[in-house]
């Protein structure tokens, strides 16, 4: 399975995702620079966390116009699995590949802690067979406060597009405790604030995140 990991200027979780995909779950991980095109024949694309373009203007707003995003958009529209983690989620929202936007945390504080999220909604490339499971993964963000208008939120809930929800309340003020959503023609585009790549090996305290990558490899 060939999975491309896009590096924008300011991405900082790209190597972690690469490591987990290649050495922990055994995928053929391929690093993709944001100015390049997506290599042909990819099975999935990951937009990793970090601070693309220094979060200038709004987080994720400038990465959207990186040359590679044209290919990512085409790949997603054709049903290809695209996973955005943290800043990657912000980029997906700014690109219009997922609805809504991630606002400053309600507390105005950068939050770095383990959270418990419940997998809900419809099956997606990273949540196949995981519905109802509670996963422990870390979050580390200042802008993770998911916002969309009520109509959009109702639609997301109705269509099973809310796929990760914080257990016991969102630490960042997210609407309806949303930690991650899915979209795209086959719910093939998934964005989430927690970092599964930081919870994929026992030495890091949790292996729950690995299950998302294992699901991706299984699709």
């Amino acid at each position: 399975m060939d999975i491309g990991i896009v590096t924008f200027p300011g991405s900082n979780c790209d190597h972690d995702v690469y490591h987990v995909l290649k050495r922990v779950v055994g995928a053929n991980a391929r690093a993709v620079w944001h100015k390049d095109r997506l290599p042909a024949g990819l099975d999935a694309v990951v937009l990793p966390g970090g601070f693309s373009y220094g979060d200038y203007l709004r987080c994720g707003a400038l990465a959207r116009f990186s040359p590679v995003m044209e290919d990512v958009t085409g790949f997603a529209s054709a049903g290809g699995p695209v996973v955005g983690i943290c800043n990657g989620f912000q980029v997906l929202c700014e690109s219009g590949l997922l609805p809504g936007v991630l606002l400053r945390n309600a507390s105005l504080k950068f939050i770095c802690q383990d959270v418990l999220v419940e997998v809900q909604g419809a099956d997606t490339p990273v949540t196949t067979g995981l519905r109802g499971h509670r996963l422990r993964m870390p979050i580390a963000h200042a802008e993770g406060n998911y916002y969309a208008d009520t109509e959009t939120l109702d639609r997301l809930e109705g269509e099973g597009q809310v796929v990760f929800r914080y257990v016991g309340g969102a630490p960042n003020g997210s609407s309806r405790d949303i930690a991650g959503i899915a979209g795209g023609p086959r719910l093939n585009v998934v964005g989430l604030m927690p970092h599964p790549e930081r919870a994929s090996e026992g030495i890091l305290g949790s292996t729950d995140g690995r299950r998302l990558f294992e699901s991706l490899l299984g699709t």
Partner: protein, 80 residues
Amino acid sequence: MAKKVRVYVTLKRGVLDPQGSAVGRALRTMGYGEVEDVRLGKYIEMTLSDECSGAEGKLDEMCKRLLANTVIEDYRFEMG
């Protein structure tokens, strides 16, 4: 003459503005009890080249596509 443009990007009504609330609280703590509400936004200055035609349409497009996220923000601009 190069055109000077001022763009104002503000949060839509109804979108929570924790930064504005914090600044409002600070002002009231300083004794400015008359402050009822504070909303923070962005102010962008731009210079357009002389040859720019249809500036208004282009600015509107720039705001929609990049400068503002219309899910949460409103924008307006002034020229000259």
